[in-house]
């Protein structure tokens, strides 16, 4: 530890800290542009100049290491003058277009110019102008505004692992760009918008849409992948205008995948905003009363329920109560047919935890492609890799995971490896995709054995794909005693009526003809096409709900906007349906519903004891398939989103089929 005195305040900071960190520890604000705590230090903006005793001139505090007994001054005439000078230089080539700049109101340069700059400019010569660059369908560039802090260059190279941005030419002609015009091949490109301190990189879909001070901000959770990224939904009136990540060092640090950030324009398209009832073979608009009558008439006999991938836990529990009240044990939440029996929670959680990846000393990934399944978790793996973690991969050849890995093989035989031998904290990441194979049970048992969990360290980590999957498993939305699973319910004559709760991820056309189908959800996607009654539900931005991420972290989200039209929060629909069906369910309010299961009383990470190893099944030899997942259009909201459609077109080369999943 080093003792540093900042403006007379004595603080102790670890050796190797920068002066800037010491100043922050002392509660002094240091202006900065290029410095970002999660990126390497560049020291090129010079805004963070401070005076250090016995230093001949002001020093850039972000790049200057502390020394014991150092005396730092952050508010002397020299410092103030230096910052004014730096600001004047930065503004020489910066256009005065704040009134038409999307960064206006949340711009570091704007704020700091007010705080540290001169009132006027002495520069009368022509300003330089830089041609805008194309870096993809999500990020809009206005390169004349760039102050060349190189945060984006460092983000792309260090965090996203796609070193495609750079500073070409020099001096007056220096430009940030890809040199060869192309879209940045990253699933994390939206974060460039957040880290850019000026308006050079802004959100393309959000261009000229709103000013930050007009927006209502609501805390929520990104449910479109299983990372459970905490988000802030910015709304104006009844419209979601943008989604931004919040910081949580245990989950996302401050990054977010592009799907969660940009697919919200799908919330305005292809929505189910009123009930529909099939009459004479055709779906016709109906009122809620008519729909409930139709449900009461049709949803009887042997019934079953299937829940989708992004449904909130409250709705899942409500459907489970409804089905249980009707005496049915036919339920399934595994649309992909993953072999998860739910008996032992540790068998389906990302037990190592996302932050735990950084503690690991060896990591083995089995199947799938973490880069498209959970880009933020993949970025965390890359961070650990840069710190020295060795990564092994069993799966399709030639995948670019943004870090180097040892490719151990393409088929399950490669799991007989000593890659993790000697590791104190091994992590085995098993893709949920691997559990959809016929030899899933054997893979699960093998992965568990490789991870060799102990009470102190459980490295077995199942990587789910969507935000609602773990919640449904935690609530036990699985075939009960004598109940049928998804495949069983698809058998002709197995059930008379099916309730699809946001279930769009399986082949709905396989539902036998004659089965009465109620589809409850928010998008007119695969499930709604097969329905006899459609009950319009709320999307994740429109309801208060609980989701559980792949680690088993219980997270609560709040409603940012009202559901469109006549759509309602899902648990209310199910409560009304229970009344229409004359089924007794043990709740009338959200509070009572939540009281019915211990899941809702928990907040944050809920770990699971390792317990017994999973039972192995027949082994297989088939190679792990190359993941054909379409990251941008993996679920109904993404499929309805024009932005995501453009991404899929740009990144996947051709317009993919709608149900590419």
């Amino acid at each position: 530890m080093a003792k540093v005195t900042v403006d007379g305040i004595e603080v102790e900071v670890p050796n190797g800290s920068s002066v800037l960190q010491a100043c922050e520890a002392a509660g002094k604000e240091i202006p900065r542009f290029c410095y970002h705590e999660r990126l390497s230090v560049a020291g090129n903006c010079r805004m963070c100049l401070v005076e250090v005793e016995r230093a001949p001139k002001p020093v850039a505090s972000c790049a200057y290491p502390v020394m014991d007994g150092m005396k730092v001054f952050t508010d002397t005439p020299v410092v103030r003058n230096a910052r004014r000078g730096v600001m004047e230089f930065l503004l020489i080539n910066h256009p005065l277009d704040c009134p038409i700049c999307d960064q206006g109101g949340e711009c570091d340069l704007q704020d700091q110019a007010v705080g540290y700059g001169n009132g006027i400019s002495r520069f009368h010569e022509p300003k330089r102008a830089v041609k805008d660059k194309y870096v993809g369908p999500l990020v809009k560039t206005v390169m004349t505004r760039c102050i060349q802090c190189t945060r984006c260059v460092r983000f792309a190279a260090e965090v996203a692992g796609v070193p495609e941005l750079g500073a070409t030419n020099r001096g007056e002609n220096m430009e940030i760009g890809t040199y060869v015009e192309k879209a940045l091949t990253s699933e994390l490109s939206g974060n460039l918008i957040d880290i850019c301190p000026v308006g050079a990189l802004t959100s393309r879909p959000y261009a000229f849409v709103a000013r930050p001070w007009e927006l209502t901000k609501t805390d929520s959770i990104d449910v479109l992948d299983a990372t459970g990224t905490p988000i802030r939904i910015d709304t104006r009136g009844a419209e979601v205008l943008r989604i931004m990540p919040r910081q949580d060092d245990d989950v996302n640090e401050e990054w977010m995948g592009d799907r969660g950030r940009f697919s919200f324009d799908g919330l305005k398209r292809k929505r189910l905003d009123r009930p529909w009832v099939k009459r004479d073979g055709k779906l016709k608009p109906a009122t809620w009363e008519e729909a409930m009558v139709a449900v009461a008439e049709g949803f009887k006999g042997r019934v079953g329920g299937i829940v989708g991938d992004t449904v909130d836990a409250e709705a899942i529990l409500a459907l489970k109560s409804l089905l249980a009240g009707m005496g049915s044990a036919n339920m399934d939440c595994r649309q992909d047919g993953a072999a998860i029996d739910g008996a032992n929670r540790a068998h389906y959680l990302f037990n190592a935890t996302i932050a735990g990846i950084e503690e690991a000393d060896a990591l083995l990934i089995i199947g799938g492609n973490p880069r498209t399944e959970a880009p933020v978790i993949n970025a965390r793996i890359r961070k650990a890799y840069l710190a020295g973690l060795k990564v092994g991969f069993v799966g399709a050849k030639g995948l670019d995971l943004t870090y180097r890995y040892t490719h151990l093989g393409e088929d399950p035989a490669a799991l007989a490896t000593d890659f993790l031998a000697g590791a104190q904290k091994p992590v085995v990441i098993l893709s949920r995709e691997a559990l959809t194979r016929p030899d899933a049970k054997a893979l699960l048992a093998q992965a568990w054995a490789l991870a060799n969990p102990t009470p102190d360290w459980n490295g077995f980590s199942l990587l789910h794909h969507f935000g609602g999957q773990v919640g449904a498993l935690d609530l036990g939305f699985l075939p009960g005693q004598g109940g049928l699973d998804l495949a069983g319910m698809m058998a002709p004559g197995a059930v008379d009526a099916l309730w699809l709760l946001g279930a769009d991820g399986f082949d709905a056309s396989a539902i036998p003809a004659g089965t009465f189908v109620v589809y409850q959800g928010h998008h007119g996607d695969a499930g709604a096409a097969r329905a006899d009654v459609i009950l319009p539900g709320a999307a994740y931005t429109e309801k208060e709900g609980t989701w559980v991420n792949t680690e088993g972290r219980v997270q609560r989200a709040y409603a940012a906007v009202q559901p469109p039209g006549e759509a309602k929060p899902d648990w209310r629909i199910l409560r009304a349906a229970a009344a229409a069906l004359d089924v007794t369910v043990p709740f009338d309010t959200l509070e009572q519903l939540r009281a019915a299961h211990p899941l809702f009383s928990a907040q944050g990470l809920v770990r699971a004891e390792p317990g017994a190893a999973p039972v192995a099944g027949p082994a297989g030899t088939a190679a792990f398939a190359a993941s054909s997942r379409n990251y941008w259009q993996a679920e109904p909201i993404g499929r309805a989103s024009p932005t995501m459609a453009e991404c899929a077109k740009v990144y996947m080369g051709s317009t993919p089929l709608l149900a590419a999943e």
């Binding site: 070193p163 495609e164 941005l165 750079g166 070409t168 030419n169 040199y179 060869v180």
Partner: protein
Amino acid sequence: MSEEPQSFAFDEESEKKIAEILARYPEPKKASGTIPLLYVVQKQMGRQTGSAWVPRVAMDAIAERLEIAPIRVYEVATFYFMFNTKKMGRYHLQVCGTTPCMLRGSDDVLRACKDAGHVSGYGATSPDGLFTMSEVECLGACVNAPILQVDDDYYEDMDYDSTVKLIEALKRGERPTPGSVIGRQTSAPEGGPMVLTGEEG
């Protein structure tokens, strides 16, 4: 003017050179070879096409060889004036216009290049594709100002006439001996040595 070639492959001579260059750096630090390899490419292009420049495909080839991201090579190549990222004429006339050369008559050299080489100005290439002229900063040979650098060779103590003569020679495919055009020995005084001539003075 800059027609990007479709592909680039190192030829035998370059390969020999690359092996020699990369041997200088430890394997994990072979990115240090970026600048020497850019020179190798530029030379090879000069040999093969008569236009010494670095096309993008060649930069990609360098990146692949050095196992670095292509953008890192683009950054270096565009940073230094010595690498031409656009197609060049056969001869690269580099006129020094910094103060000592300017005082000693670099304006005449510039005028001669325009007149004899038919180059319209800095950055331009002559219609016959022989000459590309650029303005360079101090070449570090001020004692022999003004300087005209043709590709890698310095021609020193230039004036209008000698520049025209040089350019005419280049047009004929000749390469006059580099160095002082007035016969000075390096930077020794004009007309031969004045001191330490062996006679007591």
